[in-house]
């Protein structure tokens, strides 16, 4: 049987693409945290550093990420549809013992993340949500050159309650998705046993919590006026 039509094979593809996105999320957060000033020049310098890479590398990276997201969404929807029919009729009494809110709602938290992804790219990558604060059209000096004002764009965005709210809400979805997803990755890859699994579940939830706290701090501190432009 083809890997991509088998039950475990598709699960493995979901797990690898999911975990690749987790790695991306960790690196993305580390980069974004330059907004708090630990890098000389802040997030503007970090953004400039990324954009000064050769175009083929940037586009290649974006294409790989896009492919990863597509594979994850494709099999996520396919497996969920198959599984919905796995128990044709629900039991009269619902008595769930081990499943969690997070594990039962992966498709919904995942869908929220997909919607958020579109919004987030439109907001900060394509910069079409608030064109007047778009970084690409507002250059500021950095060292001895003029660079896009990413800091200004982010701060202007998160001063708005609804924008901050959307980001914070999406991060709740991310926390739920990953509190199940990270440990699920290890189980699906077969990298867990009865002794390691309880630890993996705890650490996975902690990593999900860390990502949640790290990401929400940015809109939160800006909206509260602690982090200023």
């Amino acid at each position: 049987m083809q890997f991509t039509s088998s039950s475990i094979g598709r699960k493995i593809l979901m797990a690898i693409t999911g975990q690749a996105m987790v790695l991306f999320a960790v690196v993305h957060l580390l980069g974004n945290s330059s907004i708090f000033g630990w890098l000389n020049g802040g997030i503007n310098a970090y953004a400039e550093h990324l954009h000064s890479m050769p175009l083929p590398i940037i586009m290649g990276f974006r294409l790989v990420l896009l492919a990863i997201v597509c594979v994850h969404i494709w099999f996520g929807i396919q497996l969920t549809i198959e599984n919905r029919g796995g128990r044709p009729q629900e039991y009269a009494v619902k008595s769930t013992q081990k499943a969690t809110f997070a594990s039962e709602n992966m498709i919904w938290t995942g869908s929220l993340l997909a919607l958020f992804l579109v919004y987030h790219l439109a907001h900060f990558t394509f910069q079409v949500i608030n064109p007047e604060t778009a970084a690409l059209s507002n250059l500021v000096p950095l060292h001895d050159m003029m660079v896009p004002n990413v800091m200004g764009m982010v701060v202007a965005g998160f001063k708005n309650f609804f924008v901050s709210f959307i980001y914070a809400g999406a991060m709740v979805a991310l926390f739920l998705h990953l509190s199940h997803g990270i440990q699920s990755f290890f189980q699906t890859m077969g990298w867990s046993c009865d002794k390691s699994q309880p630890v993996i579940i705890k650490v996975g939830t902690l990593v999900a919590l860390g990502l949640f706290l790290g990401y929400v701090t940015i809109p939160l501190t800006i909206f509260a006026g602690i982090l200023k432009g």
């Binding site: 475990i8 599984n83 044709p88 039991y91």
Partner: protein, 252 residues
């Protein structure tokens, strides 16, 4: 008998004449039940009353009544085998209930387990999984030859833990996706761990998981409900081991 307090219980039981009948819940009263009755003996009492009243008895699967054959199969108040840890329905006793309780009794519900009648479902899909690879075809010799193959105790113990599976299907019934990963994982692991089974390990895991999908079982999403439902305490580490075997088999 006089010093035995008895209980009266309300049973809400799934009744279905055949696979094509839509089925519905019926309410019955179980009278004169003592705490020493097993759950199946309690149903025997109800069935006797039904027969005396010229009604159809409740049809349910059972055989050994000592927790080893895997025939008994009921969802009791939403939990497979009644939800008591490591207990089959036949080993569940009425002391777990109290006078006046209302108990819902349903059949295993899964796409791959069509209902035959009332609480009996067709579990032959599990046999199909076994037929597609749950065996070894190499000559293993007589008893003495078996003892000549040295197997470290830890490995033998692990294989025995997997071999505890009695094929009842509670894992499928407990899984929201109707997946058979715990059953198949236990069978794949039990053989893959031992030298006699290693030779065919990659063919086995590919074929058994393929049959699993063909029979209409769902895919695992790691809820671990199967492990909570299993009367033999089969651990989901055997699903992880099967996933590992599956990955290995891609390169074999």
């Amino acid at each position: 008998m006089s010093d035995h307090k008895t209980m009266t219980l309300t049973l809400i039981v799934w009744r279905q004449k055949s696979a094509n009948d839509p089925g519905k819940f019926e309410t019955y009263t179980a009278k004169n039940i003592t705490e020493h009755h097993s759950f199946l003996e309690m149903l025997d009492c109800v069935n006797e009353d039904l027969i005396h009243a010229d009604k159809d008895p409740i049809v349910f699967d059972h055989d050994c009544r000592e927790g080893i054959c895997g025939m008994c199969s009921q969802i009791i108040n939403g939990a497979a085998h009644g939800g008591q840890e490591r207990t089959t329905v036949c080993q569940l006793h009425m002391r777990k209930f109290k006078d006046g309780d209302t108990i819902y009794i349903e059949p295993w519900r899964a796409r791959a387990f069509p209902i035959i009648r009332d609480l009996i479902v067709d579990r032959s899909a599990l046999d199909k999984i076994i037929q597609s690879g749950g065996y070894t075809s190499c000559h293993t010799g007589g008893v003495a030859d078996g003892n000549a193959i040295l197997i470290p105790k830890a490995v033998a113990d692990e294989a025995m833990d997997a071999a505890q599976c009695i094929g009842c299907g509670a894992c499928v019934a407990g899984c929201p996706n109707g997946a058979a990963m715990l059953f198949t994982g236990a069978k794949v692991s039990q053989l893959a761990l031992l030298p006699q089974g290693k030779g065919e390990a990659s063919m086995r895991v590919k074929n058994m998981t393929k049959t699993m999908t063909e029979c209409g079982f769902g895919n695992c999403t790691n809820h671990y409900e199967c492990m909570a439902a299993c009367p033999k305490g089969i651990n989901v580490k055997f699903i992880a081991r099967m996933n590992r075997e599956f990955l290995k088999a891609q390169f074999a």
